[in-house]
């Protein structure tokens, strides 16, 4: 009951905001005090090492998975998040699922990542990938990935495409539609 109240309050408090996300980049950290600490507890963040995360990369259920690698400190990532959120909403009934994989530093989950999720009312599923052996897992996501973010993997069953780039909504939608055909 308490949880529902919080959700309602949250929906109410962010619904009037314009759709541009607060730019929580390197220069403008969100102050933890801006978000009530007991709200942070409502964010259940799943944290994975790469081995456990891999299950998200090889599903074969005819769903189009849009997996975006981002972090709150990455300004171009934050800038494109609304487009992924829009895909999440507009393609929910078309078998498209968005997964936002945060690469934030673990010691900042509570002070940066969770407040960001609350403040921007992120509706797509957010998980955190915490695995320092980056040279081992980056090539497993794509051999073409140099490691810069934002980066996005779109796949459906055995068919996948990787993008080490920023998206606008039109370009993102264009790529997703290709997978729906």
């Amino acid at each position: 009951m308490k949880y529902i109240l919080w959700v309602l309050l949250l929906l109410f408090s962010v619904s009037c905001k314009e759709k541009k996300y607060s730019n929580n980049s390197e220069n403008q950290p969100i102050l933890p005090s801006e978000v009530l600490p007991n709200k942070i507890e409502t964010v259940e963040l799943e944290v994975y090492d790469f081995n456990r995360f891999k299950k998200y990369l090889n599903r074969t259920d005819d769903t189009v998975y849009v997996i975006n690698f981002w972090a709150t400190w990455c300004a171009p990532c934050v800038k494109e998040l609304p487009f992924f959120e829009k895909v999440h909403t507009e393609y929910a009934d078309k078998n498209v699922k968005v997964l936002l994989v945060s690469l934030d530093f673990p010691h900042l989950y509570d002070s940066k990542l969770k407040p960001f999720i609350i403040k921007n009312n992120i509706k797509s599923k957010v998980v955190a990938l915490d695995d320092v052996d980056m040279n081992a897992w980056i090539p497993q996501i794509s051999k073409d990935w140099s490691g810069s973010i934002p980066a996005t993997l779109i796949y459906k069953n055995d068919n996948s495409k990787f993008f080490e780039q920023s998206f606008n909504y039109k370009a993102l939608e264009h790529e997703i539609i290709k997978f729906l055909k």
Binding site: L103, D133, M134, I149, P150
Partner: protein, 204 residues
């Protein structure tokens, strides 16, 4: 008669381009390439070139910046690399590739401040006009390049990350850059020539 053939060839080329555009090789210098010299402004106002360094065996070049959390996490380790290897002939040169108009925290003044605060013992150069980083094919900060001087000029011997644990210098298993430089110092080939790591996109 020739036109349809030509047209279909063009079409085919276009189509293959289209399907292949996703598979992109990292552009810029590859392992074994000779690096062209550059001249960039240091935070002390002086211009710095590779050819200014006499009697060095090579360089540890890092594309880094003030603002990226990964760069900040590695600052002390970059300083330690210079402490350890400058005297052995492999000095560190740091280059900031970000356009300060896009990333104000990487302005010349901010670079001077950061270098002063941290006590950088190596040049911290401005890639003015963002001309040099594309030649190296740096894609992010931090991005390391180990060069070895040869008769042909400085040759790229290692590209990638500093080590395999950005979070904790004490928990590192493999020191990629140190291993590469140690191999070069002892006349051995570099075993692991390229590594991948998450970093911040270069802001242009």
């Amino acid at each position: 008669m020739k036109t349809p053939v030509l047209l279909s060839i063009m079409m085919l080329t276009f189509m293959s381009d289209f399907t292949l555009n996703n598979v992109k090789e990292r552009s810029g210098y590859q392992i074994g390439d000779v690096v062209a010299d550059f001249e960039l402004k240091n935070i002390d106002g002086n211009m710095v070139s590779l050819s200014d360094y006499k009697d060095v065996k090579g360089f540890i070049i890092t594309f880094t910046c003030n603002t990226c959390p990964f760069s900040i996490a590695y600052e002390d380790r970059i300083m330690a690399l210079n402490e350890k290897y400058a005297s052995k002939g492999y000095p560190v040169i740091a280059i900031n590739p970000n356009n300060p108009k896009v990333q104000p925290g990487d302005s010349y003044k901010s670079m001077q401040q950061r270098a002063l605060e941290k006590g950088f013992t190596f040049p911290y150069l401005v890639d003015e006009g963002q001309q040099v980083y594309p030649k190296f094919g740096a894609t992010k900060t931090p991005h390391m390049f180990v060069l070895q001087n040869t008769k042909q000029g400085p040759v790229v011997k290692y590209i990638g990350a500093i080590d395999d644990n950005y979070k904790d210098a004490n928990a590192v298993n493999t020191k990629y850059v140190e291993n590469a430089v140690n191999a070069l110092l002892s006349g051995h080939p570099v075993k692991l020539q390229e590594t991948k790591a998450i970093g911040c996109t270069i802001k242009v």
